[in-house]
Every structure is written in C-alpha cells, then in structure tokens.
Symmetry: C2
C-alpha cells in the first residue's frame, strides 16, 4: 500500500487524528529517535525527509536523510548494520518519529564504532563543567575498515 | 561551576574528546530526546538552545526552547510536571542530547495530556498506509484545566 501524507487542517486533526500528517520542521527534515527494541537504549538521533519516512514505513528498514551527503540513506547499506523497525511512533504534533529497532550484525549504530551514538555522559548539577565521561569503552567495529576513506559525517 | 562550551577544532576532538563542544544545527537549536529513567519510554523530543542546555546542566531540571513562544522554557513551570534529570548524554558529533528523567506529579510529559508525546503507532510494512493506532488511551491530566487558554504549541 502506498503511503500518503494527509493535510493538517486543524490542531485537533494533527494531535488526536488517525491520519499520518507529518511536518518536517528543520529545512524539510524531522528528527527521529531510534532506540533498541530489546532494552530501550537510545541508539541515535537521525533526520528524515519525506522520502526517508516513506521508505522506512514501506520497507521496515530505517532510512534517514544524510545532512552531510544531502541524500537519503539506507542505514547499514555500507556497514551491513541495518536497523529492522519493530515499531514506529509519531509524536503529538507529528513532527518527530520514534523507531524501535533491531540492529543487524555487531549491533552498532554509531559511525564512530560504538553501539550507541550517545556514548558520553555530561556531568550535571554539582559536577557541571567537568569532563565528559565515556559510558562505552569498546568499539563494536573499526570505522576505517568499514567505511574506508568515505567522508566523516561529523560537521564542525 | 559555570558551564562553558569548548570550540570544535577537529572531528577527533568532537567525537572522542572529553570537552563539551555542542553544535546547534537547526537555526540555533539542537534536538533533545527525553526518556523515562525508570523504563526507557521515549517521553518527548524537545529542542534546546545554548541557554536551555546550560540551565539543564546546572539545575538538573529539563529546560527546552519553545519554538512557538521563541523562549527558553522550564518544563513543568506551568503544569508542575517538572523533569528531574538523572543522566544526560551527548551524541558522537555533539549536536543532539539524551536526557533520562523522572517526571513529577502525574508523570505526564505531553501537552495533550498523555504520558508520552509518542502515543500513536504508525503502521509499517504490510500494514503501511493504515490508520494510526493509539498506544495510550487515557490522559493523565486535562490540558484545559492546566494550561487554560495558553496558545497550543502545535504548529500547523
């Protein structure tokens, strides 16, 4: 079944309706949080344009929009670390997604090689201003071996 | 201790360093995913500017930037449903945050009255194109009683 997006005629329709009526607030992109379906760990925060959202819904494999490459990106196409979507939810005003996924292979989702992109804790409260603390210490894969000399997606 | 943000001289510094060097990619804002510290449920996807990030780090209470009101927003200031931050993590390229929180009062984080903003499931795969399905059915609070006639934050 082809996925179509509904109009957004009213707040009530958007917030309480049963029609998928997404908005892409950041230059045509919406943020997408992806968690591990097994234990709830936040694996990454990605971005989707309309096509990435459609492809994810239709294929049950996570697709994002690469801001660096300015192209739709089938997660795992290079690394083999695909994300199979177990459940997908949209938020109240339909401008953010939540994917619960199962990751293939080593289970990593971060281009640096860690399981989660969120591998550093920020000290808060009395510890505010202190150094970041690594919460993962071992990489699941070697980025150079997997990505070779492909451009690093981190924007300075 | 006052929180200061470090420069971003290299990809290695940003990805593997111990200095907090955030980037705010969406018109001065970064996305922030907030989960329940007890069970990992994604409660909301908010946005932070520099000030919201600083206040969250210093006070251990979640602050966001309201795109509707164009102002920093102490979550729960009106509703009493404050979010105490248990743990805060930043992602690989330091342009997204993850907060694990404990929510006060009824435990709701969604302005519509539900516990999570992500209260509707999007059908995928063979079910693609079908109607959204509510995963929460009971509101935790009455938005009219709590917010009165304050403008609804949903943008059409």
């Amino acid at each position: 079944m082809t996925v179509t997006f509904a109009p957004r005629p009213s707040v009530l329709d958007v917030e309480e309706g049963l029609a998928l009526a997404p908005r892409f607030p950041a230059d045509g992109l919406m943020p997408c949080v992806t968690t591990d379906a097994a234990d709830g760990t936040v694996l990454m925060l990605g971005w989707m344009n309309e096509q990435a959202l459609r492809l994810t819904i239709e294929t049950c494999e996570a697709h994002y929009f690469s801001r660096t490459r300015q192209a739709v990106w089938h997660k795992g196409a290079t690394s083999g670390l695909t994300q199979t979507v177990v459940r997908m939810r949209i938020d109240d005003d339909q401008d953010a997604m939540w994917l619960e996924v199962t990751v293939a292979g080593s289970g990593a989702s971060c281009h640096v090689g860690y399981r989660s992109c969120f591998y550093r804790e920020v000290p808060i409260g009395p510890a505010a201003g202190g150094p970041l603390r690594f919460t993962e210490t071992e990489r699941r894969f070697d980025p150079v071996a997997v990505y070779g000399d492909a451009p690093n997606p981190t924007i300075l």
